[in-house]
């Protein structure tokens, strides 16, 4: 799919964006699957959310675990380091695709899933082994909690 997108778009940045959008669309549905299978209670704070994603989410969907690290001072930003990444089995990036984030779908999935549980976030790749780094590291940043909107007003 990534290969086809590269052929269709030819611009690596555009492909990165498409992958993120596709991931987002997948994520907004995946969260229902996750919540129905995972048996987790509502997270009281973002630190818990990150842990749940790393230990339960990744395990359930990709069969790997991640470690949470590098928290910022007010606990709104952290890193998720994957110990393994099944998406990149058999994959090598050629010279012509240097700006590509092959696994950008993952960023979108997490962003989409969290938005469905009222958190607006920014998810980016900090380290990517396909680009020569030594690990797969996602940087997860909480932008804001979105107040839940109820479709019915109490006083109607």
């Amino acid at each position: 799919m990534v290969r086809q997108l590269l052929t269709d778009f030819e611009d690596v940045e555009e492909v990165n964006k498409q992958l993120d959008t596709m991931g987002y669309n997948i994520g907004i549905r995946l969260i229902d699957d996750f919540l129905s299978k995972a048996n987790v209670t509502r997270c009281s704070e973002f630190r818990e959310t990150a842990d749940v994603i790393a230990k339960i989410g990744f395990k359930m969907f990709l069969g790997v675990t991640a470690t949470v690290s590098n928290w910022n001072a007010d606990f709104t930003e952290c890193s998720l380091v994957l110990d393994d990444n099944p998406l990149v089995d058999f994959v090598e990036l050629p010279e012509t695709c240097q700006g590509l984030y092959y696994c950008n779908v993952l960023c979108g999935v997490i962003r989409g899933a969290l938005e469905m549980v009222s958190m607006r976030t920014e998810v980016k790749w900090a380290r990517d082994m396909l680009r020569g780094d030594d690990a797969y590291e996602l940087r997860l940043k909480l932008i804001e909690h979105v107040a839940e909107e109820y479709p019915y007003k109490d006083d109607d």
Partner: protein, 191 residues
């Protein structure tokens, strides 16, 4: 491949295949359904080729000793004696690996056309259409279902075409939905 096999959740694959259809058919090429179909089929073709590479059973690893002492391991590919053998491989091993079941019915006209029927195609089981209220609506619903479901068959057609091409059988593959979730794949071998 078996011993080191990794698994991911099936919902990931469902998510990707559905999103691939949504992206190509609704977002990128909404006014050109044929182009969208060709793109998705092309993705399937690439994947099918690679899957065939990895799924063909390895009967023995032949060790070949070169004159200057290099040792090369080559895979001894099973000799598919004719097209029917390859098609049967698709119906049994390939389908079992990709869709967790075998093809239910295989028909051929013995002149290069094969029809593979799957009475419960895994990727169509997720599609539902609203229940019809009247008999005339029922006809429309079946048609709508066939059209809606058809988009999800471009990728599998490509998978089959890619696998067959890799195994030395150039062909064209199309699909039809009679009634969800049953569908047929029609393989036309190119001479």
């Amino acid at each position: 491949m078996r011993a080191g096999s990794r698994e991911v959740a099936e919902s990931c694959l469902d998510g990707i295949t559905m999103e691939m259809v949504a992206t190509y058919c609704d977002r990128l090429h909404s006014s050109k359904p044929d182009l969208a179909a060709r793109r998705i089929e092309a993705i399937g073709f690439q994947v099918g080729q690679q899957l065939a590479e990895r799924l063909v059973p390895v009967d023995l690893l032949a060790c070949v000793n070169f004159p200057f002492g290099l040792i090369l391991y080559t895979r001894d590919r099973p000799r598919f004696t004719d097209h029917l053998e390859v098609i049967k491989f698709i119906c049994k091993d390939f389908w079992a690996e990709v869709f967790k079941k075998q093809i239910d019915n295989l028909k051929t006209n013995h002149r290069g056309v094969f029809v593979l029927q799957d009475t419960r195609f895994r990727w169509l089981t997720r599609i539902s259409v609203d229940s019809p209220l009247t008999p005339s609506e029922a006809n429309n619903t079946t048609l709508a279902a066939a059209q809606a479901g058809g988009k999800y068959l471009y990728f599998p057609c490509g998978l089959i075409r890619g696998a067959l091409t890799n195994l030395g059988v150039p062909c064209a593959v199309s699909a039809e939905i009679a009634a969800l979730p049953a569908c047929s794949f029609i393989i036309r071998i190119k001479v």
